[in-house]
Symmetry: C2
Subunit: 181 residues, 2 copies
DNA sequence: AGGCAGTTAGTTGTGTGCAATTGAATTGTG
DNA sequence: CACAATTCAATTGCACACAACTAACTGCCT
C-alpha cells in the first residue's frame, strides 16, 4: 500500500450516511466510501458480464449474441419497425444498431428496407427464417432462469429494482451532464 | 406504425405461475416466457449501461473510464500487483486488461514493470500521480450514490442480490458450457 | 420558390469484453 | 540435464457501446 498521501482531513464533510439503517455505525471514512463504491460498481459490472456469459452459451445454438437476441425479442414482440423505434425500445443508438442489424441481415434473419414514405427511415423486417427462429428461442428464458437459481418472483423483484435504478440514473445523468446543469 | 403484422396472440394472460414453486406447473404460454425474458435481460442490460453512463460523466473529471476506475480502485485498495491478480479481482482477462493498463500507463497513472522474480509476470505499480488521484476520487462514490436516489442499505441489499446472481450464473456457465456437461 | 431547422441512418474513432492463439518463462519429471 | 506440461502476458479477431460527425430527407417559414 502506498500509504495515503491525501492531505485532506479525515473529517467527513457529510458524515451522515445514517439514512435508514445502521449498517455502518462509524461515520465511514472517505476510504470506506471508495471500498463501498468498489463493491457496488464491481457487483453490477460483474453481474452484467456473468449474465452476458450465460446468454452467450445458451444463444450459441441460435447463432445470436446477447444484444442481437434483444433485437429479435423486440421484433418478435412488437413486429417490424424502423431502426429508430428499435433504438427507443432498447435505448441504443444507430451507432450500435446499424452494424448489429446488418449482421442480423447477413445471417438472413431480417431485411432492411428504406421506407418509401420517408427515405431517411429504414424498416427492419423479420424474414421467414427470423420469424421461425422464435420457435427455437422459447426455450431460452427457462434455461436462463434455471441458471440463476432464483424463483420467478425473486427475479421479478430484482428486475423492478433495476428498473428503478435505471430510471434514477438516467435522470441523474441528465442533471450531471456538464452543460445541462 | 406498420400496422403490427405480428401474429401475436391476444394476451394469453398468465402472469406469474405460483411463485417459488418448482419447474412449470402451468404451461404458461411460451410467448409469456419470451416477454418475461425480454424484461429481465433488458433490465439488467439497461441498468448496467445506465450505471456506466453516470460513471462516465462523473469520472470525466478524473480522465478515467469506468473499467479504468475499477482498476484504480483495486490498486488503491490492494496495492501494486501483477496483471494476473488484477484480473482475478475484476474477473477480466489479459485481452481486456493489457490495452487498458497500457492506457493507464500512457496517462501516467501507473507503470508496468516485468517482475525480476518471474519474468512472465508484469507488475502494475501506481505512480505518484496515480496515488494522488485517489484524493480526487473520494468524491466519486457519494455522487454515484446520490444519483441512484437509493439509501445505502438499499444499495447494499441490491449488491448482495447481484453477487448471489453472479455466483449462480458463473457456476451455471460452467455447467452449460458445451463439453463440460 | 428558397432556405433553414429538425430528424434519421450511417460512418468513424475510441474503449471495452472475450475467445483463441502465440510466445516466453517456469515448473515438474525422468 | 533434457523435455513435456503449465503459467502468464500479449496479440488478433470479432462484437458491442457511445460520442461526434456526415449525409440525406422532411417540413415549416418567410
Amino acid at each position: 500500500m502506498t500509504a495515503t498521501p491525501t492531505p485532506t482531513t479525515p473529517t467527513p464533510a457529510v458524515p451522515a450516511p445514517a439514512a435508514t439503517a445502521p449498517a455502518a455505525p462509524a461515520p465511514a471514512a472517505e476510504e470506506d466510501w471508495l471500498r463501498l463504491d468498489h463493491q457496488i460498481c464491481f457487483s453490477l459490472h460483474a453481474a452484467s458480464r456473468a449474465f452476458n456469459g450465460v446468454y452467450r452459451v445458451v444463444l450459441k445454438d441460435l447463432g445470436l449474441t446477447y444484444p442481437q437476441y434483444l433485437v429479435m425479442l423486440v421484433l418478435w414482440e412488437h413486429g417490424d419497425q424502423p431502426v429508430k423505434k428499435l433504438g427507443e425500445h432498447l435505448r441504443l443508438d444507430s451507432g450500435t444498431l446499424s452494424p448489429l442489424v446488418k449482421r442480423l441481415e447477413a445471417a438472413g434473419l431480417v431485411r432492411r428496407e428504406r421506407s418509401t414514405r420517408d427515405e431517411r427511415s429504414v424498416d427492419v423486417r423479420l424474414t421467414e427464417e427470423g420469424a421461425a427462429l422464435r420457435g427455437r428461442a422459447v426455450q431460452v428464458p427457462r434455461r436462463i432462469v434455471a441458471s440463476t437459481g432464483f424463483a420467478l418472483d425473486e427475479i421479478d423483484a430484482l428486475r423492478q429494482r433495476l428498473d428503478e435504478l435505471t430510471t434514477a440514473l438516467d435522470a441523474a445523468a441528465l442533471r450531471e451532464t456538464p452543460g445541462c446543469a
